[in-house]
């Protein structure tokens, strides 16, 4: 009898956890169109860092510990475009300067070898 009740309780707890996770995903429209996902990301960006900061402050007050200043929370937007463009520009600049640099380094290397062999 007790075992049956316990297994039923376990099933209900697991079911409510799983159901809660599914409902959270459905409510926040995380698996919906991409503009809804972006809106959810923006909401998370507004809510999560202050919540983490306030939680840390609360822990500090309760425990009396002085937690040193945490680094800035990570940004949740993905500016891939800027980093990609910056990467492309860097690579192209390096490629265009490569022959000049190679000539310069080989000349320096040749001078060095000549001095050593004198």
């Amino acid at each position: 009898m007790a075992a049956g009740v316990w297994s039923l309780m376990r099933f209900l707890i697991k079911g409510s956890l799983a159901g809660g996770a599914v409902y959270l995903v459905y409510d926040q429209e995380l698996l919906g169109p991409s503009d809804r996902t972006q809106a959810a990301l923006r909401r998370a960006e507004e809510v999560v860092p202050p919540a983490v900061y306030h939680f840390c402050q609360y822990v500090c007050r309760q425990t009396g510990l002085q937690i040193p200043q945490l680094p800035a929370p990570p940004k949740m937007n993905f500016p891939i475009r800027e980093s990609w463009n910056a990467g492309i520009i860097k690579v192209m600049s390096a490629l265009s300067a490569a022959p000049t640099k190679a000539l310069e380094y080989s000349r320096e290397g040749w001078e060095y070898v000549k001095e050593r062999t004198k």
Binding site: V25, Q38, R81
Partner: protein
């Protein structure tokens, strides 16, 4: 499509992919821990579903300017 529009679409696609794969993975973790005795397949299934949804959204997003929406006009 201008370059900035293309860039914005790529950004949106990648952010969407990361969120969907993460959500699928998270749901897979929850179901694996609660019902499936810590097996690995719910994680793989959830991540794969998220990836597929993100791919489908991206495809629709990129093809959107080229899709023509027509109307059927009945003969009078």
């Amino acid at each position: 499509m201008s370059e900035s529009d293309l860039g914005r679409k790529w950004d949106r696609c990648l952010a969407d992919a990361v969120v969907k794969i993460g959500t699928g993975f998270g749901l897979g973790v929850v179901f694996s821990l609660t019902f499936f005795k810590r097996r690995m397949w719910p994680l793989a299934f959830g991540s794969g579903m998220g990836l597929g949804m993100a791919y489908s959204n991206c495809q629709h997003d990129f093809q959107a300017p080229y899709l023509l929406h027509g109307k059927y006009v009945k003969e009078q």
